[in-house]
Structure formats: C-alpha cells, structure tokens
C-alpha cells in the first residue's frame, strides 16, 4: 500500500472520512450513555406508576407511619388504617446492614492494611485476588452457606446470648430468645461477608494514595510500623474508609436472595430482638410478589420497592461523593 500523497485534496478526504466515522462513534457512545440514564429514570417512573394506586388510596406517608404489614386485612374500600405499614422492613434493612457494617468494616480495614503495608510483595496480588473472588460468589450460594454452615455454627452462641443477655435490664429485648437460627443476626453475618470485598477493594485504593514520603518520614522519625499506620496512613484515609463503608452499606441495603434465605421472613410487625426472625424491604418483595392477590398488595410491594430505590440511591450517592472528595483531598 502506497502512502497517500500529502496534498490538500487528500488531506480533506481523510479528514472528511474521520469526521464521518467520528460522528457515528460519537452518536453510538452517546446513545449508550443515554441508555443508562433512561433505564434509571424508567425504573423509577415504573415503580412509582405501579405503586401509585396504593399511594393514592392510603396516602403516601401512611406507609411510613405503621409497622403492621397484614395484606389479608386489606379491602378494596377501607383506607384507614393502612394494612401495609413498612416501617418494620426499613428497620430490618437498617439493622441487618448495620450488623454487617460493624463486623465488616474493621476486618476490611485490617485486610487492606495488611495487603498494602504489611504483606510480603509476592503475596499481595494473589491475596487481593482471593478477596475479590468473594464478590464473585453468587448470592444464592451465600444463602445456602448461611443455612447449612453458618446457622448450625452460631446456634450455640445465639442460644447462650438469649439466655444470658435476653433477660438483662435495658438491653434485654435486643437479645430476647428463643433463637432458632434464622434471624437479623445471621442475615447481618452473611451480609458482612458479602460486603467485605467491596470495602476492602476501596480501602486498598485509598491506602495506596497515601504518599510514600509521609510514610517514610514517620518511619524516619522512629515510628514503629503500627505508629506509622496510625499517624500517617489512617488519618489521611479516614473519609475514604467512610466512603468505602457507605458503598458497602449500599450493597447490603439491596441484597435480596441471601438475606431472604436466612432472615426468617416474619413480616407482621417489628421484631426487636436481633436473635429473632424478621424481614427486610427486599426480602418481603421476593417472598410475596408471586402471589400478591390481596387488594393493593402488589401495588404496596411496589411502594416498598420505590422506597428501597430511594434509600439505595441516597446511600450510594453519599458513598461516591465521600470517596471522590477523599481523592481530591489527597491530590
């Protein structure tokens, strides 16, 4: 192939051809980007539209002012009280996610510190890969693991907790028995393992952005490795860790199948004890939508879905903002 002669005419032709392919490419990627926005907006619109009959019938706020979910008591006419109170699902989602955070964040921070600062170089890559692999395990497998491995393992501890702390003054109701295995606690434990990889991955990146100069200065001043981590690495990463935790929370909030398998699916009202069976916003939808035959039943599940979407969007946006701000601080 002979090179094109460098004349104004050929230059124009080549530029024109680039312009054409560029235009096609530009429109293609623009369409792809627009699709994401469209899907998000369409999902939200769909949920609200489907939920609308129930929202209009019972009033938007009535769903959040009751913790009694009793579809069998719904009729096509009665508006008050709303039989579809969803506070207990918000509570269940919050409690399981909190248990998961409390357990997963310290472990994730420790794992990432080990991976970035302590582990021998040859071990870092394979070990990081293994942590990331935790995220590749399907949710339903975590559910099975929860039922068949975790519950039998924690049953003695749960029974012991309910017998000792269950009657303690003040905190008693939080640990009240009987403990049968399926519970907020076990759901939180399963979630903790599921969100570990995402928190670890972000923390690892956050720690890696701490300038080597800072760390070396600390060491040069005679700090031990622990003091160096405490004084040079952790303070700079505080908001990054927070962001990672919040993104982990975002994952925990929406997780459905694994939670549905181990939470016990008690929907009627709030179960105070973390050792008792409960339900989350996503688990009630997964359980009930196939046979939602009562009046406004399906529409009320859509209300739960819409609120879940709102909460998930807020949590994820906050998490992303915090992580992004950390990045700018460091740079």
């Amino acid at each position: 192939m002979t090179p094109l002669a460098d004349t104004p005419a050929t230059r124009r032709r080549v530029r024109a051809r680039w312009r054409d392919t560029d235009t096609v490419f530009r429109y293609a990627v623009r369409a792809a980007a627009a699709l994401v926005v469209v899907v998000l907006v369409a999902t939200a619109v769909f949920l609200v539209a489907q939920a609308w009959p129930a929202l209009r019938h019972y009033g938007i706020l009535s769903f959040l002012s009751s913790d009694r979910w009793a579809p069998s008591e719904a009729t096509t006419t009665a508006r008050h009280p709303n039989p579809y109170g969803i506070v207990q699902f918000v509570y269940g989602t919050a409690v399981t996610s909190l248990i998961a955070m409390v357990l997963a964040v310290p472990v994730a921070v420790a794992v990432s510190l080990y991976l970035t600062e302590v582990a021998p170089g040859w071990l870092r890559k394979p070990l990081s890969g293994l942590v990331d692999l935790l995220a590749a395990i399907p949710s339903v497998v975590y559910g099975f693991w929860g039922i068949f491995a975790l519950i039998p393992a924690v049953r003695p501890a749960g029974v012991w907790l309910s017998r000792t702390l269950g009657s303690a003054p003040g905190i008693g109701p939080v640990f009240a028995g009987p403990f049968f295995g399926v519970s907020y606690l076990v759901a939180g434990l399963v979630l903790a393992i599921m969100i570990l990889p995402i928190i670890t991955a972000i923390c690892r990146e956050v720690f890696a952005t701490v300038p080597t100069a800072d760390k070396e200065s600390a060491l040069a001043l005679g700090a031990t490795r622990w003091e160096m981590l405490r004084m040079a690495v952790l303070p700079r990463s505080r908001s990054g860790i927070t962001g990672a935790a919040v993104l982990g929370l975002g994952r925990a909030v929406g997780e459905t199948i694994a939670v549905t398998m181990v939470i016990g699916n008690s929907v009627l009202s709030i179960t105070k004890s973390i050792l008792g069976p409960g339900a989350t916003m996503s688990s009630v939808i997964a359980n009930e939508f196939t046979e939602s035959t009562e009046p406004f039943h399906l529409q009320s599940l859509m209300v739960v879905g819409a609120w879940l979407l709102v909460i998930a969007l807020i949590v994820n946006t906050v998490g992303k903002l915090i992580v992004r701000r950390t990045g700018e601080d460091i740079a």
Binding site: E73, V111, L134, F144, F148, I193, L196, S292
Partner: protein, 395 residues
C-alpha cells in the same frame, strides 16, 4: 483472613450443591409404586392407611377419545398440583401425542391468567370467588382434579412420626399461645411420648398459597383461639394471613428446608413433600374425634358425605367421615365454558376427560388421592357443559 474465609466457603458450596439436589421437587415424582407408605418406626396405631383398594379407582373414560383436537395446550397456576400435572401431561402426551405445557406459577397467577385469557386453562387450589368470576371474559368452569392433604410436620430428635394434634392445639401453637413442646396440652394428647422442654419453632409460608388456605381454614374451624388472635373469622383464613408468630419459608420447599434445619420446628406441608423428604409428621384429630394418619386412603375419605354446590366450589376440611383426614382439599382446573377455538376446546375436553378417568389411577403414586366416586362423577358432569361456539363439545 481472606484466605481463611475462602477456605471456609469451599465446603459450604459443596454442601449447597448437594442441598439443591435434595430440594428438587422432581425427586418426588419417582414414578409409580409409592402409594401409602408407612414410615418405619412411626407410631400411628391402627389406621386404614395400609388399605390400597381405593388407590386405583379405574374410572371408565367418560367419552370416547375426541379426534381433531389441537396438538398443544397451555396451562398455568397452582404449584401444589405441579408434580402431578407433569406426570399426567407426560403420560398423556405419550398416549396421544398432545403436548400440554404447564407453568407452575401459583394459584393466584392461575386465576389471573385465565381471566386474561392468556392460557387455555388455569389451575387454582381455591375456587374462584364471584368477584374473580366477574372479572373473567365469560363463565368459567371449575373442575376438581385430585385430592391432597396438608400435614403438620416436625423436627424433634428422638420423637417419631405419629405425634397427635388437635385443631385447637395447632391453632394455639400458631397463635403463639402454646410455646413449648412440653406444654400440658401437648403432653396430655401424647402420653408416653417424652416431649422436650424446648421452644416450638413455628414455621409457616412466607408467600401466599393454597396450602396456607387449607391449613388456616381447618384452624379456623377448630380453634377459637386462632380465630380471635387473628381478629375474626374473615382474617383467620385465606391464601395469606397475618401470622402472629414464627418463621416464614417460601414455597413447600422453603418450609420443608426450614423444618429440616431447625431442631424443635413445627410446620405444615403438602403430603407428598412430607413423604418424599422422609420428614416426621403427626396425626390430626378429625370431627369424629379420631386421630388420623394422613395418607391416600384417609384423604380419599374426605369427600364422603359432602354436598357439593353446582359449581363444585366447597370446603373439604373437617369431614364428618370417621376415617377421613381432616385437612384435605382439592385443586381446580379453570377454563371458559364456551370455547371459541374449536381445536383447542376439543383438546381441552379430551385432556381433562383423560385426567378424570385414566389419570386418576396415577395420583396415588405421587401421594395424591384420586377423586372419590361421587366427586369424579360431578367433575365429569362439569366437563360435559363445555360448548364450542355455543354447541356442546360432547353429546
């Protein structure tokens, strides 16, 4: 840490894979020969369950085979009949070459689909209410296809099958009033059985279901405590109720899994799930005051002495027959009385006339009971009402 967590997961995955195999409902349909099995070591006393005379009623075909029918039919609905339906459709298609595709999506879905007319027949464990009928595109026939039972199933180390329950005691347990296995009400029913001082882990369905409907209907008939706890006779029964206590499992397999995993659990399951999983299960007191083991023979007795209304839509729980198991019910095929597509209409009538005759001989092999003689005749009479564009499908 990460490595340790992963090492723990590997055996867990293996367990999970094994478990999915066990939970598979297809294992239930292991072909003929099951019949009314008795669990070894179970303590049921003298029962009619050994009697297998009724298992193969041998109903004659109500009409000669109809030619010129469509080669495919579609149905959707009840999960309760799904194992039986797949056995029927398989056998029927081997005999006639007609393929019947059945989607097990739940009874509520079955009603919705026939109302919308997206399937040739729907399938529901409860009859259609007048309100549901009104939303359909014309009069819908409801044809009972089999009899089934809902059974109290438990997991207690050292306690065999055959524990005795009354409807009132079950109602009190499900209302949260009886909380431990050694409650005087339970020990009084079961002298000689050592019941532990353990809490009862009550297991119920987390999804709406025909199984729930049968169970709660029986509790409502027998237990005033259950009715008052739920807030009245209309709140205390149905496909979904506001369970005051307990753990929810999705589907029969979810409840079954929960019972198998939880020491001290008590739940309710369809009979074929109980027998297929070799679970320990109880006997229930019937209206005549006798404790009855659930099996094909005792379930068949449930239709004795029941007067059916014209649309056959009635309750079969709490039968007065002294040998009847009290928590029994049926499942209805739903389709339009007037069929607009001649080929489809002909195929429908032919398929259901086969199910109501030859098909009934297969029921017992999956631990469903065949329709009794009376009910089978009434069901055939319903089938005779089918018209094709106004003209009777069979004469």
């Amino acid at each position: 840490m990460a490595r340790k967590a992963l090492a723990g997961l590997v055996p867990a995955i293996a367990v999970a894979l094994v478990a999915t195999g066990c939970g598979n409902t297809n294992n239930v349909s292991s072909g003929p020969g099951g019949g009314s099995s008795s669990v070894s070591g179970a303590d049921f006393g003298h029962q009619i369950c050994g009697r297998t005379g009724d298992n193969k009623p041998g109903f004659p075909a109500p009409f000669p085979p109809l030619p010129d029918g469509a080669k495919t039919l579609s149905g959707a609905g009840s999960t309760f009949v799904a194992p039986m339906m797949s056995y029927w459709t398989k056998t029927y298609s081997q005999a006639t070459g007609v393929q019947v595709a059945y989607q097990s999506i739940g009874s509520g879905g079955g009603v919705a689909q026939i109302q919308a007319g997206t399937v040739d027949f729907g399938q529901s464990d409860t009859g259609m209410t007048p309100a549901e009928q009104a939303e359909a595109k014309g009069p819908v026939l409801q044809i009972p296809l089999l009899l089934g039972a809902v059974v109290p199933t438990y997991h207690l180390s050292g306690v065999k099958s055959g524990l005795k329950f009354t409807g009132d005691v079950l109602g009190k347990i499900y209302a949260g009033k009886i909380k431990t296995w050694n409650d005087p009400a339970l020990t009084a029913l079961n002298p000689g059985v050592k019941l532990p001082k353990e809490p009862i882990a009550v297991v119920h369905r987390s999804d709406g279901s025909g199984t729930t409907s049968l169970w709660t209907e029986y509790l409502s008939k027998e237990s005033p405590t259950w009715v008052s706890t739920l807030g009245g006779p209309s709140e205390s029964k149905g496909k979904t109720v506001a369970w005051p206590v307990g753990i929810g499992g999705k589907g029969n397999e979810g409840v079954s899994g929960q019972i198998n995993q939880t020491e001290g659990a008590l739940g309710f399951l369809e009979l074929h799930y109980v027998l297929a999983q070799n679970s320990t299960y109880g006997q229930v007191q019937n209206k005549a005051g006798r404790f009855i083991q659930p099996c094909v023979a005792t379930v068949t007795q449930a239709v004795n002495g029941i007067t059916f209304p014209a649309n056959l839509n009635t309750s079969l729980t709490d039968s007065a027959d002294p040998n009847a198991y009290p928590i029994a019910g049926t499942s209805y095929a739903l389709f339009y009385r007037n069929q607009k597509d001649a080929a489809k209409g002909t195929a429908l009538v032919d398929f259901f006339s086969w199910v109501l005759s030859k098909g009934q001989d297969l029921n017992a092999s999956l631990n469903y009971a065949p329709l009794g003689k009376n009910l089978q005749k009434l069901a055939v009479d319903q089938l005779k009402q089918v018209t094709i564009n106004g003209k009777p499908a069979v004469t």
